[in-house]
Assembly symmetry: C2
Homo-oligomer: 191 residues x 2
């Protein structure tokens, strides 16, 4: 997505050889107009995928997930939670997610009420790096006996291998901006 790549180059801040900060428009301050366009592009890429639900994980996955669900005709979004809320009384699917930056393992959870057999799920997330959150969400979908019909990442850091891991599990991964490397604070896109 040309416009997104241009925005990353203009307003993103690459630090060292790994970190890309996009919190001026994607995950702390939100450009809601751009996020609508991101949703439309995801819907275009996954037209005909048959999804009846969009899944993401809180918090910064929520805006692009909602935008995609609107553009896909107003299907529901379900978002996995990182904390165990006292109100999730009906039982939950749970999966571990490793954080490479923090060196910790946490859990993501989804109430069993909102996902089950017959559901076709499109996963949407703001970042795809090592694929840990993606593998976690895939596990939630498998536990529910539902089907993953695709994975849409707004920004993929290709060099961290997440898309490869997900594709090896048979997932149709499509990313709006694919970063092949970050070097000395400069971003390089694939292709």
């Amino acid at each position: 997505m040309k416009k997104l790549e241009e925005r990353i180059l203009r307003d993103g801040r690459a630090i060292g050889n790994d970190i890309l900060k996009v919190d001026s428009f994607l995950n702390h301050q939100l450009d809601v107009v751009l996020i609508d366009e991101i949703g439309e592009e995801i819907a275009r890429l996954f037209a005909g995928c048959g999804a009846n639900k969009v899944m993401t994980v809180e918090a910064s996955g929520i805006p692009p997930a909602v935008a995609a669900a609107r553009a896909l005709g107003g299907i529901p979004v379900i978002f996995a939670k990182k904390a165990a809320p006292s109100t999730m009384v009906d039982g939950a699917y749970e999966a571990p997610v490793k954080s490479f930056t923090k060196g910790t393992v946490s859990s993501i959870r989804l109430s069993k009420s909102y996902l089950g057999k017959g559901d076709k799920v499109l996963i949407v997330d703001d970042f795809l790096a090592a694929g840990e959150a993606g593998m976690g969400m895939l596990s939630l979908i498998e536990q529910a006996g539902a089907e993953c019909v695709g994975f849409a990442a707004v920004i993929e850091k290709q060099y961290q291998g997440g898309s490869e891991r997900l594709r090896a599990k048979g997932v149709d991964v499509k990313s709006l901006a694919v970063i092949s490397r970050i070097e000395d604070g400069k971003v390089y896109f694939a292709g």
Copy 2:
């Protein structure tokens, strides 16, 4: 908002004399069509408020905040974070938020890059109960030298006193559904 009240009565689950679960459409699974309508109603209630930013706190405040910002002409959303991300390098405003259900005090944070003097902020949140999150966001706005032009709550639990606390600070509070009490699993709206 009639449609929201009807949805709360149909799909909400009131537990005892205090808890209202709306996670089938508002804060775990999301009805994106209803949330769009919520955004339009907030924009109608605060038309002419002069807001140039919408503020909320992660995670479940984000969907109505984004919907309101779109309906207000596509102004940016800023969402306060509950954890201290390693990437918030430019300094942050910080405020304590007490949780009555958990009995704990945590912090919310907003990067100093995205709020300052001259900003006019409309706060949007999914719930207004005791007003702790609202008072915290108000503190972030005051620290930035910005102005709060209003507070829109999707669901207000009036009996917990949050709207009174915020109004005592001069905030223009408007809620789309105002619950006067919950009794034996039954919801009563004000007025």
